[in-house]
Symmetry: C2
Subunit: 592 residues, 2 copies
Amino acid sequence: MPLRHGEGRKDHLTSFGGLAALSLDALSSVAYGPEAMLLVLAAAGSSALHLSLPIAVAIAALLAVLVFSYCQVIAVHPDGGGAYAVGKQDLGATVSLLAGASLVVDYVLTVAVSLAAGAASLASAFPVLAPHLLEVCLAGLILLTVVNLWGIAESARILMLPMVVFVCAILGVIVVGIVRSHPAAVVGTAAPMPVSETVGVLLILKAFAAGCSALTGVEAIANGVPSFREPRAKLAQRTELMLGALLGPMLVGLAVVVVHQHIAPRTGVTVLAQATAGAFGGGWAYSATNIVVALVLALAANTSFGGLPVLMSLLAKDHRLPHLFALRAERPVYRFGVVVLASLAAILLIAVDAATDRLIPLYAIGVFIGFTISQAGLLRHWYRQRPSSWLPRAVLNGTGAVLTATAALVFVGTKFTEGAWLVVIAVPALMLLFSRVQSYYRVVGNELGLGTTPDRPNGGRSLVIVPVGQISRLTEYALTAALSFGDEVVAVSIHLDPEYSERFRAAWEEWNPGVRLEVVESPHRSLIHPILDYVRQAQCDGRQIAVLIPEVEPRRRRYRILQNQRGLLLATVLRARTDVLVCTLPYRLTSR
Amino acid sequence: MPLRHGEGRKDHLTSFGGLAALSLDALSSVAYGPEAMLLVLAAAGSSALHLSLPIAVAIAALLAVLVFSYCQVIAVHPDGGGAYAVGKQDLGATVSLLAGASLVVDYVLTVAVSLAAGAASLASAFPVLAPHLLEVCLAGLILLTVVNLWGIAESARILMLPMVVFVCAILGVIVVGIVRSHPAAVVGTAAPMPVSETVGVLLILKAFAAGCSALTGVEAIANGVPSFREPRAKLAQRTELMLGALLGPMLVGLAVVVVHQHIAPRTGVTVLAQATAGAFGGGWAYSATNIVVALVLALAANTSFGGLPVLMSLLAKDHRLPHLFALRAERPVYRFGVVVLASLAAILLIAVDAATDRLIPLYAIGVFIGFTISQAGLLRHWYRQRPSSWLPRAVLNGTGAVLTATAALVFVGTKFTEGAWLVVIAVPALMLLFSRVQSYYRVVGNELGLGTTPDRPNGGRSLVIVPVGQISRLTEYALTAALSFGDEVVAVSIHLDPEYSERFRAAWEEWNPGVRLEVVESPHRSLIHPILDYVRQAQCDGRQIAVLIPEVEPRRRRYRILQNQRGLLLATVLRARTDVLVCTLPYRLTSR
C-alpha cells in the first residue's frame, strides 16, 4: 500500500514502465508469501502441506478481487493517494488517520521484510552467508541509505531489466518444475517438523492470512496514478491488470510446484530456492536465480525510500505532521526522512535477528488495514453515488473488505504475543501523534487568523541598532546598510574598561560617521546582556526596532570557528528574549 | 603556574585569604612530591632512601629561590599574568607562546594529577577502593564537572577551613612522627624493590627533579595579584612568603619522617599515609587525615576549572585563540571550556590508569618551563633596567632559571619514552595552533582595515522582500515591520500550483495591504530556491536588500519543531549564498 516510486512526479509512465516502477514490491513478495504459508501448515505435519494448493487458489481469488477493486479506486481517485486519500474522502478523519499510521508502519516494514527475504535468498545461493543474515541485511540497508542520501534519479527504465529477468526466472522455475517428474537436487537441511497443531479452520485461516503477505504491494499502482501518461487512469488500470495476471499465476504455480516436489520449509534455504533447485538443479542457474531474487527484493526495499517522503508530505499538507515535511524537495528534509526510515528498519531487523517470518505478521496487518479501508471506502462511494450497476460493485468491494479485514484480525489475534502487539501499539500511537499535531496547527491557525482578512499593515518610525566593537571596514559596511533601512541609526559599543571606552569615543568622533554612538560599560564582563538591556529600553517608545549584526564570512569553512561567535550568541539571545527584528549581514572575506 | 581562582575578579583577598584561594595546589603537592622522589630512589635499593633528606633540603632551597623570585615578579607585574605575561613583555612572542602552551597542558595535568593523588589517598584510608582508583578518579571528575557546569561562587572563605585542617594535619604528622621513637602501625603491602640502578649523579638528578613536582603551584599567587586588596603587591608578596614558610618545612619535615621511620614506597598506600600511620596509628586519625588530603587535592583540581578559562581569554585577547574564548563570562563559552578540560583530563587518567607517578613527569615539564620563563624574564628585566643592586637579583634569578631548566630537561630526557613525548608533541602543537590563529586574525584585521579610518558610511535606497505563504495576522505583522524599514516592500509568494496562485492573487487584491505581490511558480516543488533566485535578481540594481522572515514562536519549547523550519532553511541558504541582510522577526503565540 505504500506510495511508490515516482509518485507525485508527473513522469509519464507507460503501462509497462509502471509495472517496473510501481510493482516490484508486489511481484517480489512471491519470495516470502508462499514460504510464510508453508511454515504455518508445517506445524500440522507434512501431510498438511498439500493444503497449500487450495489456499493459494483462494489467495489468487482474493488477488483478483483486489485487482478489480483497485481498478475502480483508480477510476474514482485519478489523483492517486491510495488508502489515505480514499479514507479521507469517503470515510472521515479517523479512518484516514488509521490509514496514514498503518502506511507509515508499512514503509518501515517493507524495507525490513524485503531486506530479510533478500538476505535469505542470497544465503540460499551462498551457504557461507547463512549464519550472517543480520549482517547481510544491515550491509544492504547501509548501501540503500547511502545511495538515497546521495540522491538517485528515479527511473522506470533501469528497473525494467531486473523485473523482466525476475518474472522470467520465476515462471521458468514453475514451468520446468512441473514438467520435470522428479526433484533434481536437494539443497538445505531438513528442518525437524514437530507436529504441534491439527488441521482445522483456524490453521487454514492462519495459513491463508500468512500467504496473503504475497499480496502486499498491489495497491502501489493506485497510489501512483499521477505518474502515468495520459490517459492516466486507463494506463494505470492496464498496469494493475498486468500485475494481477502475473502475480496470480505465479502464486498458484508455485503452490503446484511445492505440492508436486514435496517441498517443505528447511533451514538455510528458502522455499523459492528449493523450487529453483528442483527445476534448474544446483548449478549456475540456481545461483543466478537466487541472486536476481535478492536484487529485486533490494529494489523493492528501495521503493520505501521514495514513497515515505511522499506520504509524509501529504500528511504535513493535511497538518498532521510538522509542516517541515511538506518541503520534501529540500535536501535536508529528504535526508532526515531517509535516515529515520533506515534507523527504524535497522532496529526492527536487529530485534527479530533478520528472520523474515517474524516480520511478516507485523507487515501484513498494516497492509490489510489499508486494503480494508480502500474497499470500505469504495463501498461507501457506491452506496452514496449509486451509478448504474452499483450493486454488484458494492458486493465485490464489500466481500473484499470482509476478507481483508478477516486476514488482518487473524494476524492480530494469532500473532499478538509474537510481535503483532508492536503494530497494535505503534498504529494508535501514530494516530494520536497526527491528531495532536493537527489540533496544534488548528489552534495556531485560529490565533494567526488564517482564513480571515487581517487589518492593513501600517509602517511606522524605525530605529536600527548596530552593535559595534571596533572601527573598521566592517563597521562602515554595517552602518551603510543600517542607514539605508532605519529612520534613525545608533551604534552601541560595550566596554569593560572605562579608559578604553574614552579612547573609543574619541576615535569615533574623529571618524565622524554621522551615526550616534552609545557607549555602555559592563562591569560584569558580559558583552551580550548590556546590549539586551539597551534593546529592551529602546523598545519602550513604540518604534520598530532592528538590531543589525554584521558577520565576517571567511572563504574557507574551517575558519568559521574563528569568527562571529559573539554575533551568533547575541542573535540567539535577542530572538529568545525580545520581539525586535534581528538582522545579520554577511561580510565576505577575500583573503582567507 | 596556572592562573588560579578568583583571578581577574577584583575580590579583595587578604593575605591569608589569598593563601586559601591561590595556594591549595602548591600545598597539596606534598601529597605526591615526596612519594615521586622516593620512587626514583627506591630503584637503587632501600639504602638509597636516606638520600631523600639532602635532596629535600635542596628542593627547599630551590623553593626559597622561587619564592623570592615570585615576590619580584609580583613587584614587577602587579597586574598578574605569571609566566605568560612575563614572557610576552620581556622575552618576545615565541617564548610567550611557549608559556601559554605549557600553561594549557598544565591545567589539564593539574586536574589529572590531583585527582589521581586524591584517589590514592582515599584508597589508603579505605583499602576496598584500591583496585578501583580509576573509577574513583572519574567519579570525582564527573562531580567537579557538574559542579562547574552548574556554576559555583568562588569563595576564599570556604577554602580556608580545609586548608587550615590540612596544614595542621601534615604538621602534626611531622611533629608526632619525629617525636615518637618507633613506628606505630604498618599499613599497605611491602612492594618488591628490584635494584635496577646504582646511586650516581643521574639518579640524584632524577630524584631531585621528581621531588620538585612538590613545587607545582607556587606561581599561582603571582598570577592572581589583581585579586588582592590594596596594597596589592605587598599583600601578595606576604602570601607568597607564607606559602614558602609552610611548604619548605613541610617538605623537609616529611623527608626527616621518611628517613626516621624507614618509609619506602608500598602498593595500596601512599608515602604520606604511611607517615600518618607512623604518627597517629591506624585508627580514626589516620582515616581522617587521608580524607582531608583527598579533599584538598580535589579542591586543587578544581582550581584548574577556574583558571583555564582565564588563561584562554587572555590568549583570545591576544588573538591566539578564537575570539569566542574572550567571552568567558558568557555561559555557553564557559561551559564549553569546562567540558573540554574535563574530557582531556579523563583521557589522560584512563591512559595511565590513574597512576600518579606516571603523570608527574608530564606535569612537571610544563610547570618547570613556566618557572624557567618567569626567572629568565626577570633576569632580562634586571639587565635592561639595571636598578640599584640589580646584580644579586639577576644572579638569584639566573640560578633559579638554570636549576628549573635543568629539572625540565632531566624530565624530558629520562622520561621521554614513559610519556614525556606527549608533552614534547603537545606543547609545540599548541604553539603552532596559537600562531596560526594569530596570523589568521592579522590577515583578516588588515582586510577589515583595523587601525585605519574607514570611509564614511552612506545610506542608499532600500528594498525589503517578505516571503509570504498565506494571508494571516503573521503576514500583517511582517509587512508592518517591513514597511517601517524599507523604501520599497515586496511580498514574494511561491506556489506549486497555478490554480492556487490565481486564488492567492485574488485574495491579496481583496485584502489590499498596499504592498506589491510577486507570485513565483515553482515546478520543481522547491520553495527555497525560487526565493533565492528572486533575491539574486533583485540584487542587481544596487539597492540595499533585506529579506524579512517572520517566525512563529510557540510558548512551549516542545512545539518548536512544528514551526519555522521553512524560515530557518531559507535564512541559512540566503546567508550562505547572498550578501543581503537576513532578518528574522519573532511572532509570539499566546495560545500554545
